[in-house]
């Protein structure tokens, strides 16, 4: 996790808001560094985490988390982390191999009209038993992390089906179980907002559902080696609680630094 981001968001593994739906998004940039932040944050906070690995393999997150001081393999063995290796299982499912994964979680790859009910059931089964029958330790609130939602559009799942899925997840995990949900949506400038199957449409709809939004964008002035982009943080509360702030950021080998626009060390 990134200490600077924690202080900006006024949260820490010992003290964080429950029941949050955090929406991460990017445009002309890559917000996946925030996924690593939240994964390590909630594991440090001793929450039970269900991670849907739709775009990268477990070993990728494991190596990065190691650098950030969290051991994913251990967390998986202890039962704290449930990781769905959706990416690696996909060729077998798509080609209808005999030996492939038969679980309903990957149904969105199978059926002629792909939908996500099977995936939702997987999430529910992973997180609904908060303590676990055989758990020696009881974990904190359940957390769902999805990396990422927009790849489902590339696989032929409709935006409507994705929104249904997130709605069900939010209702169960955030409202019912008082846990949190973090999802990443990746967008492009080339897509038209009116296109109902575009990431932009998905992003708009999810922005209304979320309680906290972090939008990562490249700099409007173009590529810069020392400033990788900017993050707009939007606390979607009511009245005074509704506020937006913009920070510029730079990602390092072992973390990320955030600073007010124009105050990068490279510039000052």
């Amino acid at each position: 996790m990134f200490p600077e981001l924690n202080s900006i968001l006024s949260s820490s593994p010992e003290n964080f808001t429950e029941g949050e739906f955090i929406l991460l998004s990017d445009r002309q940039a890559d917000a996946s560094f925030l996924i690593h932040h939240y994964l390590t944050f909630y594991l440090r906070a001793r929450c039970r985490v269900c991670f849907l690995g739709l775009v990268q393999s477990f070993s990728h997150y494991s190596v990065v988390s190691q650098r950030l001081g969290v051991n994913l393999t251990q967390a998986k063995e202890k039962g704290q982390l449930v990781f769905l290796e959706a990416l690696k299982a996909s060729p077998g499912v798509l080609l209808g191999d005999e030996s492939s994964d038969k679980t309903a979680a990957l149904d969105y790859l199978r059926s002629p009209c792909p939908e996500l009910r099977g995936l939702y059931e997987f999430v529910w089964n992973s997180l609904s038993r908060a303590g676990g029958e055989d758990a020696a330790e009881s974990w904190g609130p359940p957390v769902l992390i999805i990396d990422d939602l927009s790849v489902l559009l590339s696989l032929g799942v409709s935006a409507g089906a994705i929104l249904d899925f997130t709605h069900y997840c939010q209702a169960t995990i955030c409202s019912q179980l008082q846990g949190s949900m973090i999802a990443l949506v990746r967008c492009d400038d080339e897509e038209y907002d009116e296109d109902e199957e575009s990431s932009n449409y998905l992003l708009k709809a999810l922005s209304h559902q979320c309680s906290l939004s972090l939008r990562v964008e490249g700099l409007s002035t173009g590529y810069c080696r020392d400033i990788h982009g900017q993050v707009e943080i939007w606390w979607r509360g009511r009245g005074i609680k509704n506020q937006r702030k913009i920070f510029q950021y730079k990602v390092h080998d072992k973390g990320a630094s955030f600073f007010a626009p124009g105050t990068s060390r490279a510039v000052l």
């Binding site: 190596v63 996909s90 060729p91 080609l95 209808g96």
Partner: protein, 324 residues
């Protein structure tokens, strides 16, 4: 390899993993689990030429495989892959990793290479039942080769896959001529599954896509995001070259759309992303785009002549006498 970009990207990737991992075998494995996607954008007048630029990069990629003793897998819908391999580049010069475009590779060297090809006219077409559409056969073939040759288990060699012009109509895909294609997600689903296969084996793939033909704007962005590294070649039309003095020395721009950051938070960012390419007689060179110093006419003419010698260094060089 003379295409500095691929080497640049590959060097950065290898550097990163060597720093982060302790086992050499793991280092080799992770550094090859990438899919490089070369997208070609073109101004309409130059169509044919531009498929030849991306095809050239593919040939460099495969030639490097031949020299390194890797196995090759080449899939093409337009040209017979066997023919493509036969017309490979020659290996010349001291380092063995510099290629001369005006020569052909030694046939003995080519014969020693283990190769697998996929040419749709020669494959039997199964029914397209999955969302892979016309690419189901290709994915099955790749999966079979990887498993049969042991790249997902015991073999300590690399499989280099070259997939030519995916998305074009010759593959049976209508994403390049329809605004609402029937197999709308076939290409992206295929690239997704390809990534999965690469992650579980010692293989690396280079895919070329005729970006200028794709009618659905969202598809290209998705193709880039589904690749680990992505490069776009944008060639100049002849009028652009004449009007803009900055472009007169080059054939087009090379845009880096995506740099891989596998197994790390962030890879080293390049200094600048303004690169241009030029197809010379003996090499395809990629250089940093910059204005030559504002010196007198005679001096800049001399510096242009210097640019003819093949450059095998790892850093892109300009063509002014002041660079060293």
């Amino acid at each position: 390899i003379n295409t500095k970009l691929t080497r640049h990207v590959r060097d950065k990737v290898v550097e990163k993993f060597k720093a982060g991992t302790t086992h050499n075998c793991v280092c080799v494995r992770v550094c090859v689990c990438v899919c490089v996607c070369v997208c070609v954008c073109v101004s309409p007048a130059e169509e044919d030429q531009n498929d030849s630029y991306s095809r050239l990069l593919l040939q460099y990629f495969l030639a490097e495989g031949v020299v390194s003793g890797h196995q090759l897998y080449l899939a093409s819908a337009r040209d017979d892959p066997d023919d493509m391999i036969q017309t490979e580049l020659a290996s010349s010069s001291r380092f063995g990793h510099c290629y001369d475009l005006s020569k052909r590779m030694d046939t003995q060297m080519l014969q020693a290479v283990q190769r697998h090809t996929f040419y749709p006219p020669q494959e039997k077409t199964d029914e397209q039942t999955s969302s892979l559409g016309p690419y189901a056969g290709l994915l099955k073939s790749i999966q079979t080769v990887i498993h049969r040759e042991g790249f997902d288990g015991s073999v300590r060699n690399v499989l280099r896959l070259g997939l030519h012009s995916l998305g074009s109509a010759l593959w049976g895909d209508d994403v390049c001529f329809s605004e609402s294609p029937a197999s709308g997600h076939a290409l992206t689903t295929f690239l997704y599954a390809l990534r999965a296969l690469l992650r579980s084996s010692l293989s690396v793939a280079m895919v070329t896509v005729p970006a200028h033909l794709i009618q659905v704007s969202a598809v290209l962005g998705r193709v880039v995001k589904l690749s680990d590294a992505a490069v776009a070649l944008e060639s100049f039309s002849s009028s652009e070259r004449q009007t803009n003095p900055l472009y007169s020395d080059y054939h087009g721009l090379l845009h880096i759309r995506q740099v891989p950051h596998l197994n790390c938070l962030m890879c080293e960012a390049p200094d600048n992303k303004d690169l241009a390419f030029k197809l010379r007689r003996k090499q395809f060179s990629i250089e940093k785009l910059h204005l030559p110093p504002d010196l007198s006419e005679t001096v800049s003419r001399v510096s242009k002549a210097k640019g003819e010698s093949p450059a095998c260094g790892s850093a892109p060089t300009g063509h002014t006498p002041l660079d060293f």
